[in-house]
């Protein structure tokens, strides 16, 4: 590895419609968590990190109007993020033609289907309306990207809960590193839907005051929506093309807890194996890591388990490694989280600006020794960063990213 370059990024998140807005929001420590407005919800929690305004990607003009009408919100988010990344990477039609598409998602068109279901069951619609259900399958976002951008290479859609798009990035990197393809677009996309929101709320996993990762008084996560995209390509090819390399994918690993359908293994064995495996795959010792973008959801269980894993890997040195969770600002974007956080990490490597853990007031005493990057973040050149995603059901992915040059 190390031969996989990131040459384009895109993002649509609660902090705004593009990477510039994301970067500015991160640096300011702005929290994108606010009232839930997408649908009515009568539970404990009323907060979410919603995308403020979604402008359809210019590329949707390429699709027939009837098709565009049937796109789900995650389809639109994915197209917008993909367009930004492809534009930055300057991938021309010839390169796009052969590029692979790797998407991570969990909700797909479920919000739209929930409406259709309600209308059918109440009798408001006397038949099922297929036009409202076509966006349901998670794989339509990858299909939409392929059709809108003229991409006819391999494509795949992964759904492993919170690690979906981290897995998509890992798969894209593997495909390039092995020489099967030269360029790939890795995308994470997810939107809010009633089922997901109500489910997490029913599990008492949402913090009614907004998530506070690593805080002593943390009370759960905040759900978010969004999409992020990365163009990955063979590093030698990127150099030959003269395109700027924003960061490199040095290594990754994927493991399974085989423990519980929702709770992470408190011993963190699978998560630990993912971190160690990723470092080994990257050929990088743990001493080389100088920033960690945490999974950091803000639930008591996750943050406990995650710090335990980080201590096991880094030992006493952990206290000198900045660790921040950006879910405090963009929420937990579920299937999109891996890609959003990878983009955040690429930004940190490229700009030397470390994002803060924006809603942290009082660190939990169990890790008062750690550098959790209080707001407003800071300038610090970093060379090697680690980002992990832990999916419901124990599906762990760790990515090691390195500075571009």
């Amino acid at each position: 590895m190390g031969h996989v370059a990131v040459t384009g990024i895109g993002a649509v998140t609660a902090l705004g419609g593009d990477v510039g807005a994301l970067a500015a929001g991160l640096v300011e420590g702005r929290c994108g968590i606010g009232p839930l407005t997408r649908f009515a919800h009568a539970g404990r929690c009323r907060l979410a990190a919603e995308v403020p305004e979604l402008a359809p990607a210019a590329a949707t003009a390429v699709l027939p109007p009837a098709t565009v009408r049937r796109l789900s919100r995650p389809d639109h988010l994915a197209l917008a993020a993909a367009e930004q990344a492809l534009r930055q990477a300057g991938l021309d039609p010839v390169l796009r033609e052969r590029a692979g598409i790797f998407v991570g998602a969990t909700v797909g068109g479920m919000a739209e289907s929930e409406d259709a279901y309600r209308r059918r069951r109440s009798g408001e619609d006397r038949r099922w309306r297929l036009s409202r259900l076509l966006g349901t399958p998670l794989s339509t976002s990858a299909a939409a990207i392929a059709q809108a951008f003229g991409m006819h290479g391999p494509r795949a859609t992964y759904s492993t809960a919170c690690s979906s798009s981290a897995l998509a990035i890992a798969e894209a990197a593997t495909a390039i590193a092995s020489g099967r393809i030269e360029t790939a677009l890795a995308v994470g996309t997810d939107a809010l839907c009633r089922i997901t929101y109500a489910g997490f709320d029913a599990l008492q996993a949402l913090d009614p005051q907004g998530c506070r990762p690593f805080d002593r008084d943390r009370g759960g996560l905040s759900l978010g929506e969004g999409a992020a995209a990365l163009v990955l390509e063979d590093a030698a090819r990127a150099r030959a093309r003269g395109v700027r390399v924003l960061a490199r994918v040095l290594g990754h690993a994927t493991t399974s807890d085989a423990h519980h359908v929702t709770a992470p293994d408190p011993e963190g064995r699978g998560a630990l194996a993912a971190v160690r495996g990723a470092l080994a795959a990257a050929g990088v010792p743990s001493e080389a890591v100088d920033y960690v973008n945490a999974h950091g959801t803000g639930t008591r269980q996750n943050d406990d388990a995650e710090v335990r894993v980080l201590r096991a890997v880094f030992g006493r040195r952990l206290a000198r490694i900045p660790v921040s969770s950006t879910k405090a600002q963009v929420g937990h974007c579920l299937g999109a989280a891996g890609a959003v956080e990878a983009v955040v990490t690429v930004l940190a490597l490229d700009t030397s600006l470390l994002p803060p853990t924006a809603t942290l007031l009082t660190p939990d005493p169990a890790w008062s020794d750690l550098d959790l990057v209080p707001t407003p973040g800071r300038r610090a050149p970093i060379a090697v960063a680690l980002t992990s995603s832990y999916g419901f059901g124990g599906h762990n992915v760790t990515l090691i990213l390195g500075r571009g040059e």
Partner: protein, 388 residues
């Protein structure tokens, strides 16, 4: 060929019953498992249901008592596949074992129940919610089998099974795992039948893939898992090898986003390299006229004038996202036995230049069998299986 991966076990649960034997017997005899419903509500149409499957017969872990049907189908097929490969779950080298499942819709039944309660009472049931994530089946199987290596849940509509198996083949070929269980699972619900009926996307009678009178698919359910290993490993433990699968990444072709490609020629271009020297094709045709016609054209063009025997198992096992995993299972069995099963429901093929196996099975030595793995939105996820 480099890096081809051995299939050493096949587990299937289908409308023909539990196990690979009833599945293969049914296919080879040209029977259909599409019949009047017993479990779901399906007035006036035929469906292929998996009967006699109880969680208590399959599930061993305490976690598994809450298992949903889609996950149960997958788990049942996983256990069958391991047994077929002569392996016990506790013999697996957990960190070097991978797991991949494909599903088009995951857990449908409980999603509806959850939504019903949410709409009615404004609250969701926290006990049901963990089952609703798309990767529930993956988690249940990983927990039941103790798999701690790489795992992936993939979703590619009608090619979900092929996509998962292709991922699994890569894990073995790349050395990321020593053994991989890969396949797919999708369940049937009354709502799916109702949806198909109300949107005129299913036939009232038995499905007739590739037939001139095809008037729609019949929906079904089922799961198939394969045990994948490196050929050297299979040899070392004296495992029986059904076939070798050649790694393939698939491709996208121009297509209507929510439907099928209009140009069979583009699909043919993707398939042609795999079809060279192929002795049989396992097709995705389900009796849906748009798909069947497109696929027939693609195969005819892709075979370049050669008449390659074609069989379409969805006439027997019904149409559902993960049916492609059963198609790959059928291909493995075809290679093992040198038999191309007839296409249940097909009497008069829609094209004369398409050699659809009709009525009786064909016996021949099969050096290579191709599963074309077509899905809506321009996805092609073909796999080539070769004689060991």
């Amino acid at each position: 060929m480099k890096h081809a991966v051995a299939v050493t076990g096949v587990g299937v649960v289908s409308g023909f019953g539990l196990g690979v034997q009833p599945f293969w017997d049914g296919l080879v005899a040209g029977r259909t498992a599409c019949r009047p419903a017993r479990r779901v509500e399906a007035p006036g149409c035929l469906v292929a249901e998996v009967d006699h499957l109880e969680a208590r017969d399959v599930v061993r872990s305490p976690q598994g008592r809450r298992i949903d049907r889609t996950s149960l189908l997958a788990l049942a097929a996983a256990h069958l596949a391991l047994a077929d490969a002569g392996l016990a779950a506790d013999e697996l080298d957990a960190p070097r074992t991978a797991l991949a499942l494909g599903s088009a819709f995951g857990n449908v039944q409980e999603t509806e129940m959850f939504l019903d309660r949410l709409l009615e009472r404004g609250m969701g049931n926290p006990l049901v919610f963990p089952n609703l994530v798309m990767n529930a089946a993956l988690s249940y199987a990983a927990i039941e089998l103790g798999v701690t290596g790489p795992t992936a849940m993939v979703t590619e509509q009608e090619a979900s099974g092929e996509a998962a198996i292709a991922w699994g083949v890569r894990q073995i070929a790349d050395g990321a795992a020593a053994l991989c269980l890969a396949g797919g699972s999708d369940e049937l619900t009354s709502s799916i039948v109702e949806l198909r009926r109300e949107t005129w996307t299913a036939s009232a009678g038995p499905p007739r893939p590739f037939d001139v009178a095809a008037d729609g698919p019949c929906v079904g359910e089922g799961a198939a898992l394969l045990v994948l290993e490196a050929p050297e490993a299979a040899l070392a433990r004296g495992a029986r090898v059904y076939a070798l699968i050649v790694p393939h990444d698939g491709a996208s072709v121009a297509s209507s986003l929510h439907g099928w490609p209009r140009d069979g020629g583009e699909v043919a271009r993707v398939l042609t390299p795999l079809l060279a020297g192929a002795d049989a094709i396992v097709a995705a045709a389900s009796g849906a006229p748009a798909l069947d016609a497109l696929e027939a054209e693609a195969i005819a063009l892709g075979c370049n004038g050669r008449h390659v025997p074609v069989t379409a198992p969805r006439g027997a096992i019904g149409d559902f996202g993960a049916a492609g995993a059963l198609a790959v299972a059928a291909a493995a069995l075809a290679v093992r036995d040198g038999i191309v099963p007839p296409t249940a429901g097909c009497r008069q093929p829609m094209r004369r230049d398409l050699d659809v196996v009709v009525g009786v099975p064909r016996h021949a030595r099969l050096r290579a069998v191709v599963v074309d793995g077509l899905a809506r939105g321009g996805m092609c996820r073909p796999l080539r299986l070769e004689a060991a």
